[in-house]
């Protein structure tokens, strides 16, 4: 069983070596003549204003948070999907309850509008 994973590890090794070779090739073959203007980050031809370490919308954080929760839900569904015919009615009801509870969470999220990136006022940012 474990030997099935050996090709994956081999592939991982090949992929990393290939990527590093490609990257170092351009470093070796290409010229390297940096100057101050060339190294400036692009800002439409102007001198860059400040650092690009701006604070950004909390919405992105909430997306990541929601993602963890629903990713877990998806992962929990997989083992059930594999054997749901053998697991019987009890497990089916258990899964129904599970899905309903998580749907409440999703409904709440959508209702309150935290994942809404349009600038309209929602319950969350009003």
């Amino acid at each position: 069983m474990l030997e099935n994973y050996i090709p994956i590890i081999v592939l991982f090794g090949i992929a990393i070596v290939l990527a590093i070779i490609l990257m170092s090739l351009s470093r070796l073959l290409g010229p390297y003549r940096p100057n101050k203007n060339k190294l400036n980050p692009y800002e439409s031809g102007m001198d860059p204003v400040g650092q690009a370490k701006e604070r950004y919308s909390i919405g992105f954080y909430l997306v990541a948070m929601e993602f963890i929760v629903f990713d877990l839900e998806v992962i929990f569904l997989y083992p059930w999907a594999v054997g749901f015919l053998d697991l019987g009615l009890e497990a089916f009801f258990a899964m129904t309850i599970f899905i309903v509870i998580l749907f409440i969470g999703l409904w709440y999220t959508l209702k309150i509008g935290t994942l809404d990136f349009s600038m309209k006022p929602t319950l969350a940012n009003r």
């Binding site: 992929a15 990257m23 351009s26 190294l39 980050p41 992105f60 997306v63 990713d71 998806v74 990136f117």
Partner: protein, 334 residues
Amino acid sequence: MAEAEVNSYLVLGISLFMLLNSAALTVYAERRIASFIQNRVGPNRVGPFGLFQPLADVVKLLLKEDVTPIHSYRFIHTIAPIIPVVTALMTIAVIPFGEGIYVTDINAGVLYLLAVASLGVYGVTLAGWASNSKYSLLGGLRAAAQMVSYELPLGMALASVVLFVGSLSVVDVAASQEYWWYLFLNPLGAIIFIIAAFAESNRTPFDLVEAEQELVGGFHTEYSSMKFGMFFLAEYMHVVINSMLITTFFFGSYHLPFAGYWLPEMSPLAKAILDVLVFTAKTIFFIFVFIWVRWTIPRFKYNQVMNLGWSKLLPLSILNFFVIAAILFALNAA
């Protein structure tokens, strides 16, 4: 093990080679098809029909200067392009190209695909963050939020396929479509999967990540030379790989439609050749669809993308999963 099984390292080598080449060919195809759609000529100078254009592009990229902007995190800026290339290459390990023609068959193959896809988020996010450019940062953030959001419908659509198969092995998924493709049994799942696959590979209409009118180049604004080339390569490899995944999960993998009913017995060699040809043909078709859509449909706004993902596709995919489960359960009980 079955006799038809081909040495996995042979498959690994050939498929890696084909994947890298197909990415280059896809670039060429994209430019030719785009020029056809826009009524232009397109690249036709290098070699016959301009076929060597990708080669020339690679040489050009290799000879360009590799610039890292000041105040960027040099280490992360350097390793970020490696991540999407590696994750794209890792995917082929579990895809069956024909009966018994696969690199490896693992017990949790479908989840492995999800795992690899979820690791791909780091490449764009870190690239955007490490570049010290506002465009890059916004592009990287958008990319991360978008890829993460569409991973959920993707996962749910795959789960609804798993209901039919009763196994997480991708080889089993492919083999079980001998009679009925899952496109016919699970059409909603197929549509959700295709949309999510487009979003995952950051292609139009979901290419907010590099929306050039507002974000210049998105997360790869500050990348040049082969570092940019790797993002470029990874994008096209993702197109190829997502086409393979759509084929594998919903369009019968290496089976012709309803092949189990009418396809006569064949010698193993003829069957293997037919399988690989069918699989390749379907993959090429979906690569064409990816390109076709890119030059036909305009881009969404960001709030539309998030809205589609969270309030339409995710509930729909969960409902689809649940309804299919209920029907299969009722059929089994009856």
